[in-house]
Amino acid sequence: MPFRTVLSVNTFGLAWYRSLNDFINASCASDLSTCTSYDTPALVFSNTTPGCVNNGTCVSYPKQCNYAFITIYDGSSARKNGFNLRWNAFFKTDSFVPIDLIGPTVDGILMDVAFFAPGPGYLYTRQIDRPGSYIPISDFYLHKTIETSNGLLRSYVGNIGTMFYTAELRYCTESNWLIGFFQILFSAESSPVAVVPLDYHKDYLPYSELRKAFAYSHDGVNQFGWSVHDMIKALTEVFADRAWAVFDDGSQVLYLYNLTPDYVPDWLIEKLAPTAMKVLKAPADAATAKAWLNLLSQRNVQISAPAVLP
C-alpha cells in the first residue's frame, strides 16, 4: 500500500511562507486592527467587537480562560494515522506578564508553549495550573521576544509527533491577538481511495463516520481506506442516494456509484489512469451525478475544461 502524507495548514493573519520579520516590519504591527494587507484573518481576543472584524482582517473570540476556540483536528480516524503537529505563532501581550497560553491540546490536554522555553515540551492537564506529563517526542520553544511600545511580540516554534485524539487551540492568555500558522502532517499507509466530495459542516455526521472508518481525509474529497469492499459497503450504507467513486489501486479499477463514465472528468481519469471502470449503480437521475461532478470540480484546482455531459 502506498504511504501517503498530507500537510494541512491553518494560517492566522499570515500565509505560511511569511516570516516574523514580515510582520514586525508591517506598519500595523503595533495595532492589528489597522492591518489591511494580511493574507488571512488574524485572531483577536476581545470581549468587545474590534474594528478589524468589520473590515475583515480579523476574527474575534471572547477572552475566556481555557476556551477552546478552534479545533484543528477532531480526533476522527485516530490510531489509523501518524501525525506531526507543528506551529509557529506570534502573540502580542499588553501586560508584559510572561504567561501566554494559546496552545494546542492533545486529547483534551493543553500544551503550554511559554513556561519552559527553550527546551522539551510539557503537557498540562485541563487544570492548567497543574503540571502534566512530559512528552519526549515533542520539541517546542520560545523563538523570539520583541519589545514594542505596545507590548511584547513572542514567537513560538514547535512540533509534536504522536497518535493524538484531538488537537484544538485553547485560549488563556494575556495576549490580545495571535498570528501565525499551525501545520499538521498526516500520514498513513493506505489505499484505496473513495472520491466523495463532502462539506465538513453540512455533512458533519456522515463525514465524521467515514473518517472514523477510514483514514483521515485532509480535503473532504479523498477518503483513504484499506479494503475496497469495506469502503463500497460503508459508502453504500451511508450515501445510498449520493454519487461517489472508489478507486482500487491494486486492480486499477474505478468503481462508480450513481455515476457512469460520462460524468467522470477527464482530469480524474488522467490522474488515476484506471484499467477499468465498473458501474455499481447507474445514476437514478442525472442531477445526482451532476451534483457529484460539480462538487468535485469546485474542490479541485486541476480541472482545466468542463466535462461534456450527456
Binding site: T260, P261, E270, T275, A276, M277
Partner: protein, 68 residues
C-alpha cells in the same frame, strides 16, 4: 374418379431473411494477466484513453481500457 390434378399452389411470397442479432465486435483485453476475448457493446474515449464497454462476469457494466 375425376382424375383431376389439384390446382397448383400459388408461389409463396419471398421470405424475409431471418433477423440476425447484430454481430458484436470482439476485442482482446488484458485481464487478470491473460488476453481475453470480449464482445463489445460500445466504445468511449476519456482523456487519452479509449475504453470498450461490455458486461463483465460479475454482471456489471464495465469499461475496460482498450489495447488499441
Amino acid at each position: 374418379m375425376s382424375g383431376r390434378q389439384p390446382p397448383p399452389k400459388p408461389p409463396e411470397p419471398p421470405r424475409a431473411p431471418p433477423i440476425q442479432p447484430p454481430v458484436k465486435k470482439k476485442v482482446k483485453i488484458r485481464k487478470g494477466g491473460r488476453w481475453v476475448d470480449v464482445d463489445v457493446d460500445g466504445e468511449i474515449r476519456k482523456g487519452r484513453f479509449k475504453y470498450v464497454k461490455f458486461v463483465d462476469d460479475d454482471g456489471l457494466d464495465t469499461y475496460w481500457i482498450s489495447p488499441e
